[in-house]
Symmetry: C3
């Protein structure tokens, strides 16, 4: 049975998501529809790119992903369908897919041309559902569009690295449900630059020189539970999507606060990483005065 | 496989929607349950009427729609089941169905009488689910209730028109996820009164004399993208449900603002349309001084 | 077809719930996934306990419930699977199941030991889904863990009763979508202490000496509808989960207000019940001056 997922900025209240599900069932009785998210911020393409990138690969090969963000067709915003990593993606050519495509080359990209002459202001329902059901029935991309060589990119997907590779300048791309702050610095990217060096991660006035494996790594379980005070402590880790994340232990905006609220971090804010020359293997005879060794901290 | 949809004011957090889904699966193992919305404002009947009207017809014929808003039974609030347009609707007789029924005559309406003597404060679970599963198994409405001739109406579903048909007085019935303002003026209603005349749509201090086909119609694509400033522009169109909508291009309350926030429009506010006599074909020798021709605007 | 439910604090926006659904479909093509709630407050164990207790029993026997709240494994927070009332529950051993287990004895509890050496910060995806699919395929609990005799309790699940059983001291454990205030006083508990006596329920400065059967019991239907003023009236009833609830008729925080907003009640606030000695059958010759008879109120 085909699986079709939905990722949109429709919200939880409006009829848009419900009508979309209904339209799919009207075309295909034997299909599984799965919501990834309908709560993307309106027209927020980087947010949608982050969500779909981290959700899609958990699904079986062959899954069809409808992404309904900023999908009204116009001369600068065409509809596309992409086959990549044995998954199918249907969306507007507005940059949503550029985060995934920066890591995995698409097998095929087509610009959809099944639109009739009547313009629509509900393209997810009127176009994307038809394309998704066509693919679900085993149809090929060639039937619904013409091949194009590449998709529209979005900016700031990849962090900046300076020439001598001593610093990464990343930025905040997402704040999650717990208020954790997600940067665009991925584990592979970080480790390729790091090459084993010590580091200092800076976000606003806060500095970190350890990346934890998991949230509770900051807890000292040797201290009795009622004498500990770990909730609300800040830490850094790579999240389950392998993005560098600044977090608060048991983060909750309503209670102990969150990285977003406590550290004052918002979307697009800078998070930087400075790499510290290894004093033995490098030419550097001393550390800059404002860079501390790990032993200074812990 | 039968499809049962859910439209309620249960919210996303409580156990009510989950328990309702569980109760359906306990009665029927082979059924598709589809959420239309659980985020209707509590007890807001016009909102529910708007959502279900715009969602239901995308579903296949034979779909069974449970609407759980203000559904506690009492002497003035009976439970009904309706067959209309080859869909089934189960709800309280509190006006929710009057928006749909004003356009399409119901085939059959029954007042449900399967209630046992024990009163319930979870009628969706205890009554609506049983009725829905009865219909899903192929049961008739006659078995679960007695026919009644008509349903309870709600007010202000249809806009007001003055006697000489020069003006429509509508009102705001819904604010969508983007902050777009939806009026009760439908395309057919508008065009039947308009008869080709020019018009001026007024909402608070703002006037419009063009209805766009889609949101991006207001963008001038001849100007380079980085020199345009279209986000945040206001426009009017008929939305995908054919309701007259006052919108903001790429509307987002958190960023560029929305029609609701920028124009100060809320539920029940008035939106009026004045029709302008055609100077050639009518007796009017001149336009009223406060009515502008389209050419004055654009 | 197996049913797997999801109850988490993932929120509606993030990729976590979508990825979890995808991972289940990747393991099992023939499964029904049902969301109970993803909007539990972050790390709020009592809230999750309340939601799952009230939702689970509507599902068919054999249903598998994944509860993803505070589920990161650490020396004090192990993963468990429980068979209880012919349902399966998979969660962290953090007290979530203690509300259900206080009423129904578990058939079997195992501490999950399928974890490989790599630590994960997405245990719902990496551990709970695997366990759930193992059970869905007919696997036993013995294969995925070792039996343990009991689970970790949480405090304040059960209200306090004084020695002479004249008073119950309960507390607010949940505020629902309508703003109704739910206490930890259950119907059976109440009636076992009450033994037919009159009572006075006190919450802040408000007192109640009647428990209604349903919300609209407070409406006098003999008065014409347009002369009534019932919306916003306060009342007490046992809700559909049999918890004592302080409610507002047609409660809505945005319009008439709610019990939470109007009475100023929040989580953990005290709600007490005083039982009034029966003047005929008891030694008490008169009521305390501050206790009114039911006839004084109504």
């Amino acid at each position: 049975m085909a699986i079709i997922t939905l990722t949109t900025d429709f919200g939880e209240k409006d009829y848009f998501a419900g009508a979309t599900r209904g339209a799919i069932y009207s075309e295909l009785s034997d299909v599984t529809i799965v919501d990834i998210s309908h709560s993307i911020s309106p027209f927020n393409i980087p947010e949608a790119a982050y969500i779909i990138q981290n959700a899609y690969s958990s699904f079986p090969k062959g899954t069809i992903h409808i992404i309904g963000i900023d999908s009204e067709i116009n001369p600068e915003n065409k509809h596309i369908a992409i086959k990549l990593d044995d998954h199918y993606f249907i969306c507007a050519n507005n940059g949503i897919m550029s985060m995934i495509c920066s890591e995995i080359a698409p097998e095929k990209i087509v610009e959809i041309n099944i639109h009739d002459k009547i313009s629509t202001n509900f393209p997810v329902l009127d176009v994307f559902v038809k394309v998704a059901c066509h693919i679900a029935r085993g149809g090929t991309l060639d039937v619904i569009g013409k091949s194009i060589p590449e998709i529209k990119p979005i900016k700031n997907i990849v962090p900046y690295v300076n020439d001598d590779k001593t610093q990464i300048m990343g930025s905040v791309i997402y704040i999650d449900n717990y208020g954790n702050v997600i940067t665009n610095i991925k584990r592979n990217f970080f480790e390729n630059i790091q090459k084993g060096r010590a580091y200092e991660i800076a976000a606003r006035n806060y500095k970190f020189n350890k990346i934890n494996q998991k949230y509770s790594d900051i807890v000292n379980f040797d201290i009795p539970e009622n004498k500990r005070n770990d909730e609300g402590k800040r830490l850094v880790l790579f999240n389950s999507g392998n993005f560098l994340e600044i977090a608060i232990y048991k983060s909750n905006n309503e209670t102990v606060g969150s990285a977003a609220s406590l550290l004052g971090l918002g979307l697009m804010d800078t998070v930087s990483v400075k790499f510290i020359p290894d004093p033995i293997n490098s030419d550097a005879t001393e550390l800059p005065h404002n860079i501390h060794k790990i032993s200074d901290y812990e």
